[in-house]
C-alpha cells in the first residue's frame, strides 16, 4: 500500500502522473549524485507514510512500529507546526477512514503522551477528534461518531475526569428519551449501538475504574437493546417457512448487548489494565442536540447475517462471542467507508489478520478440511470467511445497503483476484449455503444473489461446478432453485453470449439454452405464411423499414381490422397493434440503438395506440416480450425505454406482469421489470418531494410543487395498491387462472408461495417509501436539511441510494 503514499497531495492536478517524474528530476539538484538513485521523503511525507502503513506489514512487530511512529511524530512535530497540523489531521482522518487501525493509532497517541513535550500534540489530537464527533452528531454521520468515540475510548486512560463516559451517558439519555417518545424510532437503537461498540475500546484502554461504569451502562442500555425492534421482521433476510437451516436472524444490537453482558459477568477477561503515570487531557464537551439528526440514510434495524452459520467446523466467530460483532462492525465500516477504492478495501479484507491479536485466526488460505487437524482449544476461524461474510452481510442488507450493489460485487471480485486460493473456496461455500436456503430467502435477496453470482462468474471465465446442481435441472420452473438456475444462466448470457455459456455447462443443462436463444435475431413471425395477417405484417414491416409515411401504413392497419371483424376475431386493434409493434422489434433487432431510433420514428402512433385502447399498452408489452421471448432481457430493456417515452405507463407494466399468468412470478426478468418500474415511480416521487421541501422557494412555487407532490404520491400509492391487489390474489389462491394446467395442486401451491414472496418485497418497498417521506417532510433546524439535488431528474436510478459526498469527511482538515 506504500504506493498510495508516495504521491503528492491530490489537490494539485496530475497527482501521481507527471509529478512523479518531476520528483525524480528534482534529485538532479543534489550536489554529488550517488551511484544509485536514492530518495528520501521530506519529514512530513515520511511521517505520513509511516502512520498510514501502521500494522499493515506482517514483517514488522507492531509494538515497535507504534513506538517508532510516536518518536518520529514527536521529533518532527515539535519543530514544525505545519507537520504537526498535518499529523493531527491525518490521525483524525485515519480514525474515520480506516477503522481497523483505531487501536493502533490510539496506541501511538498513548506512547506520544509519555514522551516529554508529546502531550501538546496529544491535546490537539483529542480536541480534533472530539470536534469530529461533534460535527458527526450534528450532521447525523453516525459512523463517524462511532469511530471517533472508539478512538477516544482507546484514550480513556489519559482523559481527565470521566472522559468518554460523560459522552456515552448523554447519548444514552437521548436514546432513552427518543424511545419513550416513539417506540418505532430507529435513531435511539443506533445511538445505543454506538455506546455498546465504544465500551470494548474503553475496556481495552489503559483506564482504571471502568468496570463499574461499564456494568451500569450495559444495565441501562438493556431497555433498548434487549428488545427486538418492531421493524425487524421487515428486513429479515429469511422470512421463509422456518424449516430451513437459516431460520432466525438476530439483530446486531441485541446480540451485542448479550455479548457485553457476558463479558462484564466474566470481569472483562481479555482486556489489559495498565495505567501509566502520564499527563491527562480534558475531553472537550460534546453536546447532543435536542432534535437528533438521523443522517442522510434512512436507518433500519441491522441484522446479523452470516453465510457460514451452522457449519460442522466453526470458520467464523459464533454469535455467542463478542468477537463476531466487533469484527463485523470494523469490517463493515471499512468496506463502506472505502467504496472510493475497492482495491484498498479488498486489501484490508485479505490482510484482516494483521489487525487482530496473533492466534485470533488460522493461517490464511487454510483449506476447510484441514481445520480438523487444528489442535483442540486453538481458533478455527478462517480470516477469509470472516471477511467474505462481512461483504455478504452488506450485499444482503435489507432494505438496501449503503452503496450500490455492484460495489460489493466489485469488492468480492478484487479480493478474489488478490488471493484466489484463499477467497474462491470461501465463496464456493457461501454460494452453496445461499443456494440451499433459497426457498426461504427474501425474493429481493434471491434476485440479488442471482445478479451477483452471474456477474461474478463473468469476471472469472464463467466457471462454476454446475454438476452439483444437476438434479435440480429437471425441477419445475416454479421451484425457486430451478428459477435461480434459469435466471442466472440468462444473466450470464446477457453479459456474454449464448454459445459461450452453453460451452461452460454440463449436458443436462444444455437444454436450458435452446437453439432460439442462440439466434441473434429472432424470426419475424409474419414470415410464416400460415399465420393470420402474415401478408399485412410483412407489409407494415416493409413500410416502417423504408420509412414510409403514416398515411401509407394506416390502410394496412385498417385491412387487419376489417378482416378481423369478418373473421369474428375479438379485439382487432390488438391484432394490428401486434403487427405494428412486432415489426418495430424486428427492424430494431440489430441493437438497442436500432430499436430506439425506430421507436423514435414511430413514437406518435405508439403513443396514441397506448391511450386510445384500454388494452393497447398491454398489447405493446405482449408484442415486445413475445418477440424477445428467448432473450427476455432485451425485451425488459425495451419496455423500460417505452416507459421513458410514456408510451407505456407503470400501471400497464404491472398489469402485464402480475395480473394474468401466475407462472410469471417465478421469472427473474419479470421481477426485474417490475422492480425497475416501481423504482422509476418512487425515484420520481422522491425527486418531487425533495424539490417541494427545498428551502428558499417562493410561496407560489411551494404551492405548485406541493400540488405536483400530492399528485405523484397519490399515483404511487395507487400503483402499490394495484400490486397489492394482484399479489394478494396470487398469494391467497383467489385468482381463477390459477387452475390452468395438469398438476394443479402443487403448482397452485407454488404460485401461491411466489405471490407471498412478491408481496413481502413490495410491501416493504412501500413501507420504506412512506418512512422516507415522513422523514423528508419533517421540520428541521436550519442547515440540517436532507441533501437536495438541484436539478430534478425524472429518470434517476432505480436504486436511489442517496449517498452524500463522501469526500468531505472531517471538518477542519485542510
Amino acid at each position: 500500500m506504500a504506493d498510495y503514499d508516495s504521491r503528492p497531495r491530490g489537490g494539485r492536478p496530475g497527482g501521481g502522473y507527471n509529478s512523479r517524474k518531476r520528483r525524480y528530476r528534482d534529485e538532479d539538484d543534489f550536489p554529488s549524485r550517488p551511484q544509485r538513485r536514492r530518495y528520501s521523503d521530506p519529514p512530513g511525507a515520511k511521517l505520513r507514510k509511516q502512520l498510514l502503513g501502521i500494522a499493515e506489514s506482517p514483517l514488522k512487530r507492531v509494538e515497535d512500529e507504534i513506538v517508532a511512529i510516536a518518536r518520529t511524530a514527536h521529533e518532527f512535530c515539535s519543530s514544525d507546526p505545519e507537520i504537526r497540523e498535518e499529523f493531527v489531521a491525518l490521525v483524525a482522518q485515519l480514525v474515520l477512514e480506516q477503522p481497523f487501525k483505531i487501536p493502533f493509532v490510539a496506541a501511538v497517541v498513548l506512547v506520544l503522551n509519555t514522551i516529554e513535550g508529546g502531550n501538546v500534540i496529544v491535546a490537539e489530537v483529542v480536541s480534533r477528534v472530539a470536534g469530529l464527533v461533534q460535527t458527526g452528531v450534528k450532521e447525523g454521520r453516525w459512523r463517524d461518531v462511532k469511530c471517533g468515540l472508539k478512538f477516544l475510548g482507546g484514550l480513556q486512560g489519559v482523559l481527565g475526569g470521566e472522559g468518554v463516559w460523560v459522552v456515552l451517558e448523554d447519548v444514552l439519555g437521548k436514546a432513552v428519551d427518543l424511545q419513550t417518545e416513539r417506540g418505532e424510532e430507529t435513531i435511539g437503537p443506533e445511538l445505543v449501538k454506538i455506546i455498546l461498540f465504544t465500551i470494548p475500546y474503553i475496556m481495552a484502554s489503559s483506564s482504571t475504574d471502568s468496570q463499574q461504569k461499564a456494568a451500569s451502562m450495559i444495565e441501562n442500555t438493556d431497555i433498548i437493546a434487549g428488545e427486538p425492534h418492531v421493524l425487524q421482521s421487515l428486513v429479515d433476510p429469511y422470512p421463509g417457512d422456518g424449516k430451513s437451516e437459516a431460520a432466525s436472524t438476530d439483530g446486531v444490537l441485541g446480540l451485542l448487548q448479550k455479548q457485553l453482558q457476558a463479558e462484564a459477568a466474566m470481569g472483562w477477561p481479555l482486556y489489559p489494565n495498565a495505567l501509566e503515570n502520564a499527563p491527562k487531557h480534558d475531553l472537550p464537551p460534546i453536546t447532543i442536540p435536542d432534535t437528533v439528526n438521523p443522517g442522510p440514510r434512512a436507518l433500519f434495524p441491522e441484522l446479523y447475517f452470516s453465510v457460514y452459520a451452522n457449519q460442522e467446523l466453526e470458520t467464523v466467530p459464533p454469535t455467542s462471542s463478542i468477537a463476531s460483532c466487533l469484527l463485523r462492525d470494523a469490517l463493515v465500516d471499512t468496506i463502506n467507508v472505502l467504496d472510493y477504492n475497492r482495491n484498498a478495501a479488498s486489501r484490508f479484507l485479505i490482510d484482516l489478520d494483521c489487525y487482530f491479536a496473533p492466534g485470533t485466526f488460522v493461517k490464511r488460505a487454510t483449506p476447510f478440511d484441514r481445520l480438523r487437524d487444528i489442535e483442540e482449544g486453538k481458533s478455527t476461524w478462517k480470516p477469509e470467511d470472516v471477511a467474505v461474510d462481512a461483504v455478504f452481510s452488506q450485499l444482503f442488507q435489507l432494505p438496501t445497503p449503503e452503496h450500490k450493489l455492484v460495489y460489493y460485487h466489485s469488492v468480492l471480485t478484487e479480493a478474489c483476484k488478490i488471493a484466489p486460493a484463499a477467497i474462491a473456496p470461501s465463496l464456493g461455500r457461501a454460494i452453496r449455503y445461499l443456494y440451499r436456503n433459497i426457498d426461504s430467502m427474501d425474493l429481493d435477496l434471491s434476485y440479488r444473489f442471482m445478479d451477483w453470482f452471474s456477474h461474478h462468474l463473468s469476471n472469472f471465465g464463467f466457471t462454476w461446478k454446475w454438476t452439483e446442481w444437476i438434479d435440480d435441472v429437471s425441477l419445475s420452473n416454479l421451484e425457486p432453485k430451478k428459477a435461480f438456475i434459469q435466471g442466472a444462466l440468462d444473466k450470464e448470457i446477457r453479459l456474454s453470449f449464448a454459445q459461450r455459456i452453453k460451452g461452460t455447462l454440463p449436458a443436462p443443462y444444455q437444454e436450458l439454452i435452446t437453439e432460439e436463444k442462440e439466434k441473434d435475431t429472432p424470426d419475424f413471425k409474419y414470415n410464416d405464411e400460415s399465420l393470420p395477417f402474415s401478408h399485412e405484417g410483412k407489409e407494415i414491416m416493409a413500410l416502417i423499414r423504408k420509412k414510409g409515411s403514416e398515411d401509407d401504413i394506416q390502410p394496412i392497419i385498417e385491412q387487419i381490422h376489417s378482416q378481423a371483424i369478418d373473421m369474428r376475431l375479438p379485439d382487432p386493434i390488438a391484432l394490428s397493434t401486434d403487427a405494428y409493434m412486432t415489426s418495430i422489434c424486428y427492424i430494431g433487432s440489430k441493437s438497442l440503438s436500432h430499436v430506439l431510433s425506430c421507436i423514435e420514428r414511430c413514437k406518435d402512433r405508439l403513443l396514441s395506440l397506448g391511450t386510445a385502447h384500454p388494452a393497447g399498452r398491454r398489447q405493446i408489452i405482449d408484442s415486445v416480450m413475445g418477440y424477445w421471448k428467448d432473450q427476455p432481457g432485451i425485451g425488459v430493456n425495451i419496455v423500460d425505454k417505452l416507459l421513458n417515452y410514456t408510451i407505456l405507463s407503470p400501471e400497464s407494466v404491472i398489469d402485464w406482469a402480475l395480473s394474468r399468468n401466475g407462472s410469471r412470478l417465478a421469472e427473474a426478468y419479470v421481477f426485474e421489470m417490475v422492480a425497475a418500474t416501481v423504482g422509476k415511480v418512487t425515484g420520481r416521487v422522491r425527486q418531487v418531494v425533495l424539490a417541494a421541501t427545498a428551502r428558499g422557494l417562493s410561496e407560489e412555487q411551494k404551492m405548485i410543487l406541493k400540488q405536483t407532490m400530492e399528485t405523484e404520491r397519490t399515483a404511487m400509492r395507487e400503483l402499490f395498491q394495484v400490486m397489492e391487489d394482484a399479489l394478494v390474489g396470487w398469494a391467497s389462491g383467489a385468482k381463477d387462472q390459477q387452475v390452468e394446467s395438469g398438476d394443479m395442486s402443487s403448482e397452485d401451491a407454488m404460485v401461491r408461495r411466489w405471490g407471498e414472496r412478491w408481496l413481502r418485497v413490495f410491501r416493504r418497498r412501500f413501507a420504506v417509501e412512506e418512512a422516507w417521506y415522513l422523514e423528508a417532510v419533517k421540520e428541521r433546524p436550519e442547515g440540517e436539511g436532507m441533501d437536495v439535488d438541484g436539478d430534478a431528474n425524472p429518470a434517476q436510478g432505480a436504486e436511489g441510494n442517496g449517498t452524500a459526498g463522501e469526500g468531505d469527511l472531517g471538518e477542519g482538515i485542510e
Binding site: G10, G14, G16, Y340, N343, S458, N459, S496, E814
Partner: protein, 179 residues
C-alpha cells in the same frame, strides 16, 4: 486546499492521466507560465458534473446489449454510443456511456472500471461529454490509434495492428510467400 481533503487511500473516481495530459497540452500556453501546474479550479473543471464515460479496451464483438447490461448496474443509462471504424462503420473497441447523474458516472469509475466485460478488463474514464464525430476511430485506417501498430496478437481486436498486418502483406507480395 478548500474542499479537497486528501483521502488516506487513492480515489478511483478521478479522471485518468490520459485526460490530464491531453488537457494540459491544450492549456499549456495559458496556464503553465510558472512551470508549475495550476490546481484544477472546481469552477472551471469540465468534469465537475460529468455524466459521460469513455469506455475502452472493448472487444470488437462486444454488443451494445452487453455494455448496457453491465453499465446499468451503476444507474439508468441515458445514452450509449458505440465507437465505430471511420470507414466500415463497425465497432472498433470503445464506446461512450452517458448516465443521468454525475454520481452514477463516478460510481461507475469506482465499481466497473477495471473489471471484466466479455472477458476483457475494460477501462473507464470520465469524459466531458460526447460530441458528434467522436464516435469514430482516429487511427489512420479508421480504427483506434492503438490498433494500428500493436505487435501483440489480440483476437478480440482484429489480431495484429493493422499497419503491421498491411506491412506483412506487402512483404509477402514482394518477396513471395513462405518467407
Amino acid at each position: 486546499m478548500p474542499g479537497t481533503v486528501r483521502n488516506t487511500v487513492e480515489r478511483l473516481d478521478r479522471p485518468s492521466a490520459y485526460y490530464h495530459s491531453r488537457n494540459r497540452k491544450r492549456k499549456y500556453d495559458r496556464d503553465n507560465e510558472d512551470g508549475r501546474e495550476k490546481s484544477e479550479e472546481p469552477a472551471g473543471d469540465p468534469l465537475k458534473d460529468a455524466t459521460t464515460l469513455y469506455v475502452g479496451n472493448l472487444s470488437f464483438y462486444t454488443t451494445e446489449e452487453q455494455i448496457h447490461e453491465l453499465f446499468s448496474k451503476c444507474g439508468e443509462i441515458k445514452r450509449l454510443i458505440m465507437g465505430l471504424d471511420r470507414f466500415n462503420k463497425t465497432p472498433c473497441g470503445f464506446c461512450f456511456v452517458e448516465y443521468y447523474t454525475h454520481q452514477d458516472a463516478l460510481d461507475c469509475m469506482k465499481y466497473i472500471g477495471g473489471t471484466k466485460l466479455d472477458e476483457r478488463i475494460i477501462r473507464t474514464d470520465l469524459d466531458p461529454g460526447f460530441q458528434e464525430g467522436r464516435q469514430y476511430g482516429r487511427g489512420k485506417s479508421g480504427g483506434q490509434v492503438r490498433d494500428e501498430y500493436r505487435e501483440e496478437y489480440d483476437e478480440g481486436r482484429g489480431g495484429l495492428g493493422r499497419a503491421i498486418q498491411a506491412e506483412r502483406l506487402k512483404e509477402e507480395e514482394e518477396y513471395g510467400r513462405g518467407r
